[in-house]
């Protein structure tokens, strides 16, 4: 699990370059495409990107559909949930209403979250066999 306190951009980039929506930006509509996206402003609508999604502190995204990304780091306000192929991380300043789905979910202390968590992961060996394996 990532333990760093800083928000770093995703290490790899898809075909598009990194995008930043600054604090003074409001988008009403759909944002889709390739590349990493950092949101510092406001989006009212769906977000679907193939790269890393960063929702900075102070940013706000409200969407009827879950946000889609390869990985997601949330430090701002999200209504509508998050679906990632990789990790989803809620930082301490995050406020999320909606379900989270990803290969790994982490929620920092102080984050405000209401929703369900759907994380597919391998059980540790001692739990993989269910209760019978524990007794053995």
């Amino acid at each position: 699990m990532a333990q760093g306190k800083t928000i770093s951009r995703g290490a790899s980039h898809s075909s598009g370059g990194p995008s930043v929506l600054g604090a003074g930006v409001t988008v009403r509509g759909r944002l889709t495409g390739d590349g990493d996206v950092t949101v510092e402003g406001t989006i009212e609508g769906a977000v679907s990107v193939t790269g890393a999604l960063i929702v900075a502190a102070g940013a706000s995204i409200s969407s009827e559909d879950a946000l889609q990304a390869r990985t997601a780091v949330i430090a701002g306000n999200v209504e509508g949930g998050v679906v990632a192929q990789g990790n989803v991380r809620l930082m301490a300043s995050a406020r999320v209403r909606g379900d989270l789905k990803g290969s790994e979910i982490s929620i920092d202390e102080g984050a405000d979250f209401q929703g369900r968590i759907d994380a597919s992961f391998e059980l540790p060996a001692e739990l993989a066999g269910g209760r019978s394996a524990l007794k053995a």
């Binding site: 995008s19 889709t32 590349g35």
Partner: protein
């Protein structure tokens, strides 16, 4: 670097409003309201009416442009729409179809 960059792989369908500088490398369909400088880079596609401060275009804009400052169409730019601005330059190699209103 501008505070807002809409990268080459990104498409926004809807309305974009910005208080600060905006650099468009990707695609915007809808409306673009910039209070400050807007730069439409080579390869970018803006199918939207644009309001802005200073506007520099090296990509494609289909829509009407209203700048409260200057508009610079650089070589490689392709603009179809009317331009209202206090000053305008159209570089050799820029394509432009539309009317110019310099508010005199």
């Amino acid at each position: 670097m501008a505070s807002t960059v809409i990268g080459a792989g990104i498409t926004i369908e809807g309305e974009v409003s910005s208080e600060d500088d905006v650099v468009v490398q990707g695609t915007i369909r809808g409306k673009l309201h910039g209070k400050d400088r807007v730069t439409v880079e080579q390869g970018a596609v803006v199918e939207a009416d644009v309001t802005s401060g200073p506007l520099t275009v090296a990509g494609t804009i289909t829509g009407n442009i209203h700048s409260h400052d200057r508009v610079d169409l650089q070589a490689g730019a392709k603009v179809v729409g009317n331009v209202k601005a206090t000053r305008i330059t159209i570089a050799d190699g820029a394509q432009f179809k539309g009317n110019v209103d310099m508010d005199v």
